[in-house]
C-alpha cells in the first residue's frame, strides 16, 4: 500500500489543479470552499462532471466529488436522486444496465475508469460491493468467502484468508464450526455480514455499500454499523443510505444528493447535520420535504 499512498498524493495535487480550474456548475461551488478533506487524507476515488443518463432521463447531474480514503463517506438523499447510481458508477456496475450512459470522468487511483483500456472486471477486483438485500451464493459459507479469491487464482493459504475475513466481518465466532453449511441457513444479519466478509476477502481498497442494513432488523443493523466503523480503519467505505440517523452515526463525510441527481453539498458529517450551508439541505435534514 505504501507506494500507492505516495502516488495517490502526487495525483491528488494534479486533480486539485483540475478541480480548482473548474468553474463548477450547479450547486457544486461549495466543493473548493468546503474542501475539508485535509491534506493528509488522500482520495482514491474522484469524479468530475459526471453525468449519467438512463435512456433519456438524466439520473446524475455534473457530479464532482472526492471520496477520502480510509473514511466512511455516506451518501444520503430522497429516493431516486441518484445515490445508488453514483455508487454503481464507481465500479462500473452500471455497465450491466443496457440503457445507462455515462459522461464525464471518474478516477480510481488517478486513472479514469471509463477509459477504453480499462477492463471493468479488473476494476471490480479492487473494489468490493455489498448490496441492499443479502445475496450469498447458494454454496457453503466457506465457498462464499473463498469465491473471490478463487476466481482471481489467489488460493494459497485459503483457509487462513477465509478465517481472517470472517473475523474482520465479526462473523467468525458464529460460524467457525459450520463453515461447510449452506450460507442460506444463516439469518439475514448473518448473511449480510457474510456478504461483507466475501467482499473484503480479496482485500479491495474501496468497499461500496448500497443501503446494506435497510433489509435488516434493528439489532442486525447496529451490528452492521459497528462493523462499518471498524472497516474504515483499513478500507475506504462509501455507503448509500436513506436513513439519516445512520449516516449521522457512522460516517465521517456526508454527501447530500437531492432530486434530479444533483450533489448539493458534501462536507464533514457534523457540519452537514448541524450547520449545513445550503438551505435545501437544511430543509431535507429537518424533514421539511422528503
Amino acid at each position: 500500500m505504501a507506494n500507492e499512498n505516495q502516488s495517490a498524493t502526487a495525483q491528488q495535487s494534479d486533480t486539485d489543479q483540475l478541480i480548482s480550474t473548474d468553474p463548477g456548475g450547479g450547486g457544486l461551488s461549495e466543493q473548493s470552499d468546503n474542501q475539508t478533506v485535509d491534506s493528509e487524507t488522500e482520495s482514491v476515488v474522484q469524479s468530475q462532471n459526471l453525468d449519467v443518463y438512463y435512456g433519456d432521463t438524466q439520473a446524475l447531474q455534473d457530479i464532482t466529488i472526492e471520496i477520502p480514503s480510509n473514511r466512511v463517506t455516506a451518501m444520503i438523499g430522497p429516493s431516486g436522486c441518484g445515490k445508488s447510481t453514483f455508487l454503481r458508477c464507481i465500479n462500473r456496475m452500471n455497465d450491466l444496465v443496457d440503457i445507462a450512459r455515462v459522461e464525464g470522468d471518474l478516477y480510481f487511483h488517478g486513472q479514469n475508469v471509463y477509459d477504453d483500456y480499462v477492463d471493468p472486471v479488473a476494476l471490480r477486483r479492487r473494489i468490493g460491493m455489498v448490496f441492499q438485500h443479502p445475496n450469498p451464493f447458494p454454496k457453503s459459507i466457506y465457498d462464499n468467502v473463498a469465491y473471490g479469491l478463487r476466481i482471481q487464482g489467489n488460493t494459497e493459504n485459503l483457509d487462513a484468508k477465509v478465517e481472517q475475513s470472517l473475523k474482520r466481518a465479526a462473523l467468525w465466532d458464529e460460524v467457525k464450526d459450520r463453515l461447510d453449511d449452506s450460507a442460506l441457513d444463516l439469518s439475514g444479519g448473518q448473511q449480510q455480514r457474510l456478504c461483507i466478509a466475501r467482499a473484503i476477502a480479496v482485500d479491495p481498497e474501496v468497499i461500496l455499500m448500497d443501503e446494506p442494513a435497510s433489509a435488516l432488523d434493528p439489532i442486525a443493523t447496529s451490528q452492521i454499523e459497528d462493523l462499518i466503523e471498524e472497516l474504515a480503519e483499513e478500507y475506504t467505505v462509501v455507503i448509500v443510505t436513506h436513513n439519516m440517523q445512520q449516516a449521522a452515526r457512522i460516517s465521517d463525510q456526508t454527501a447530500v444528493f437531492l432530486t434530479g441527481g444533483e450533489l448539493v453539498e458534501f462536507d464533514d458529517t457534523d457540519k452537514i447535520f448541524e450547520n449545513p450551508e445550503s438551505q435545501r439541505v437544511e430543509d431535507y435534514i429537518t424533514g421539511k420535504f422528503g
Binding site: 507506494n3 500507492e4 502516488s7 502526487a10 495525483q11 494534479d14 480510481f108 487511483h109 488517478g110 486513472q111 475508469v113 483500456y117 480499462v118 477492463d119 471493468p120 472486471v121 479488473a122 476494476l123 479492487r126
Partner: protein, 312 residues
Amino acid sequence: MSNTIDLSGDRGSQDLREGIYGVVFFVCAAISVLTTIGIILALVLPTLTFLGEVPIREFLLGTQFSPAIQPTVFGVLPLVFGTLLITVGAAAVALPVGLLTATYLSEYASHRRRAVLKPLLEILAGVPTVVYGYFALVYVTPLLDAIPGLELGTFNALSASLVMGIMIIPMVSSISEDSMSAVPESIRNAAYGLGATKYRVSTSVVIPSAVSGIASSYILALSRAIGETMIVVVAAGQSARFPDSISGLLNSFFQSTQTMTSAIVQLGTSDLAGGTTAYRALFAIGLTLFVMTFVLNVVSDVITMRYQEDYE
C-alpha cells in the same frame, strides 16, 4: 501519472479462453438458424424442379391427386381437404372441451384439484402419436362402428379426428388457462360487486378478457393438428378425395382420407425412384404444409403480442 495498479485487465490466456467460450456458445445457438435454412432449402429446391414439371395451377388448384397410378396428376387440393377435414373434426372436440377445461381450472377448481389435474392433462399430450393412431384404428373405430346407423370403413377420418382432438386438448386448455388466470382479481371483484353470479363472471367477464390468449391457443392447436402425421397415417387411410357436394363432404368423415402429411409419408416410403416427379411431389407438399403451419404460428404470435391485454 504513474500507474501503480493495472486496470487494463490483461489476463493473458484467460482472456483467450473467455473468447473461445463465447464463440462456442454462439455456434451452438447459430445451429438453430442453420436448421431453418436447411429446412427451407430441403423443401424449396426440389419443389422448384417439381414446378418445372408440373404447372403450378395444376398443383395448387387441381382436385385430383394420383402420383403413381396413370394418368398421374398432382393436385394438392384433395390433400388440403383431407387435412382440413381432420383438423375441423379435431377442433370440434378440442376447442370447446379445452376452453371449458380451462374455465374449470381457472375459475372453479380448488388449488388441490388444479395441482392434480394440470399435470394429468399434460399426460394427454405426452402419449406418442403412433399410439394414438393405434388406439383410433383398433379401439375407437370398432366402438364407433357399433353405433347403429353409423357405417364406418376400417380407415376413416372420424376416428382419427376424434383421437387427435383428445390429443390437442391440453394445448388449448393450458394456454387458455394461463390467459384466464392472468385476468386480475380486481376485474372479477368488480363484477361480483355488481351482483353477478360466478357463471356470469366466468363467461361474460373473464373469457372475453382473456380472448387473445384463447384465440392464440386455438390457432396453435390448429397448427398442431395440421402437422400431425402418425394418427392419420395409421387410422385414416390413404385415399385422396375431393368431394363434389355437401353430402359428399359430410360423408368424407366416414371414409378413408389422405392428408398432406400422410401423402408425404406415402410418397417417402413408396418404391418411387429418387429422381422422379412423383417423388418430388413429396417436397412440394411438404413446402405447402410448412408454409401453412408457419403462417398459423406467426399469426398466433402476433395475436399474443399485439392484443395482449394490459390490465394496469
